[in-house]
Amino acid sequence: MAIKNPQGPDAFPNDFRDPDCRQFSFAVFEQLGIEPSDRGEMYLQMVKNSGIMAGGFSKAAWTMEDKGRDHEWQLWQDKQKSDNEHHEQQQQAQKDFQERERDQLQRRLEQERIEREMLEKKQAEEAAAAKNRPNEDAQNNRIMAMPFQMMGAMAFLGFGSAALEKGADAMSPGVSGLGDQMMVTSNNNGGMLDAARQSLSITNPPAQDILVTGPSQTTAFTPGATPDADMDASGTSPQLTQQRNPMFAAAPGIGGPGRKA
C-alpha cells in the first residue's frame, strides 16, 4: 500500500478532517509497528495534541487558511468598531444634552432671580411711594363712588332687585350718551350739561359744538327771575319751594325712599 500525504509530500498532515489524512495516519502507525487495537487511541491523542478545536477547526486554520471567514472576521471587527463608535457617540450626545439642559436650567433660574429682585424692588418703591401719597385712596374712593351712587339711586327709585341688578346697564346709556352730539334747551347757557360732562370727564365733543337754545344764552340764571317772556313769575321762589317741600329742606341731596329725580 502506497502511503500518500494528501497535503503534499513535504507538509505535516494536520488536517485530520480529510479522510485521506486519517488513512495516512493509520498507515504510518502500521509501519511503526503499533498494534491495530492501539492505533485508534493513538490517533485520538494525536488529534488532541495537534490543537484542533472541538468543532473541527483550529484557530490557525480558521484565520489563516479560510479567506472567506477571514473576510467575515474583518467585517465582524468593523462592525464591533462601528458599534463602539456609535455607542461612544450616543454617550457623548447624552452628555451634551445633559450639559445643555443644565445650562438652560441655570440660565432660567438666573432670569427668575433677576425678575424676582426687580419685582421686589418695584413693590418696595411702590410701598414707599404709597406712604408719601396719603390722599390717593381717597381719590380712588371718589372715583369709585360714582357707580355706587348710581346703584343707590336705583334703590331709592324703588326698582326691584332684578331691576337693580340691571340698573347699571339701564343707566349706562344715560351716562355714555352724554358724549354724543346734542341740542340743549337751557336757562343757564348749558351750564348743567357742562357740569355733568365734567363730572364724567367727557370732553368729546367740545362744549362749544353743542347747540344750546333757550332764553338765557347771554344772561346768567337768577333764581326767581323770569327766564322767558312766556313764563308767569308769580309765586316762584326757592324759598317757597323749600317751604312746600320740607323733606328736601331738611335733608338736601338724596332724599328718602321712593322715586325721585
Binding site: P173, D180, N187, N188, P238, G258, R259
Partner: protein, 132 residues
C-alpha cells in the same frame, strides 16, 4: 230748607293746595338735552319738589311738564324750540340728573309721553304696526 248765604263763608279759611308747582326754570338751573338717538336728559341743580312719575312733552305747544307722584304738575318753563322739539318728540325715555357742586348726586330714568299730532307722527312714523 235753609237758603245758601255767602256771608256764612266769607270769613272761612280755605286751604287751597294748588295742583301746579312753580315752573322749574324759575327755581333751578335746568337743562334739557337730546342727542341723535332721541335720548333726553333733564339736568338740574336743585331737587324737584316731589318725586317724578313721568314727563310729558306737548309737541304742539313745545312745552315739557313733569308729573309728580302725588299728581301735581310742574312745567319746565322754557319752550323747546325747533329743531330740537322734533328730536324730543321722538323720545320715549328721559334720564334725569341731579347735579350739585359739580357732582352727580342722583340719577333717574323716566318715561316720556308725547302729546300732539306732530309728536305722534314723528314718534311712530317708522312703526309699521301703528299705521299712522
Amino acid at each position: 230748607m235753609q237758603s245758601w248765604d255767602s256771608a256764612d263763608y266769607s270769613d272761612a279759611v280755605v286751604n287751597v293746595d294748588p295742583p301746579v308747582w312753580p315752573q322749574a326754570a324759575s327755581t333751578m338751573k335746568i337743562d334739557v338735552a337730546v342727542n341723535k338717538n332721541a335720548d333726553v336728559w333733564v339736568l338740574h341743580d336743585q331737587p324737584f319738589p316731589d318725586y317724578l312719575e313721568w314727563i310729558e312733552f306737548d309737541a304742539d305747544s313745545k312745552t315739557m311738564t313733569f308729573i309728580t307722584a302725588h299728581g301735581k304738575l310742574q312745567d319746565l318753563g322754557i319752550p323747546i324750540h325747533p329743531p330740537m322739539d322734533a328730536a324730543v318728540a321722538r323720545a320715549r325715555r328721559v334720564y334725569t340728573m341731579y347735579i350739585r357742586d359739580g357732582v352727580i348726586r342722583d340719577m333717574g330714568l323716566l318715561a316720556l309721553t308725547v302729546r300732539g299730532e306732530a309728536g305722534q307722527k314723528d314718534r311712530y312714523k317708522n312703526d309699521k304696526n301703528r299705521g299712522v
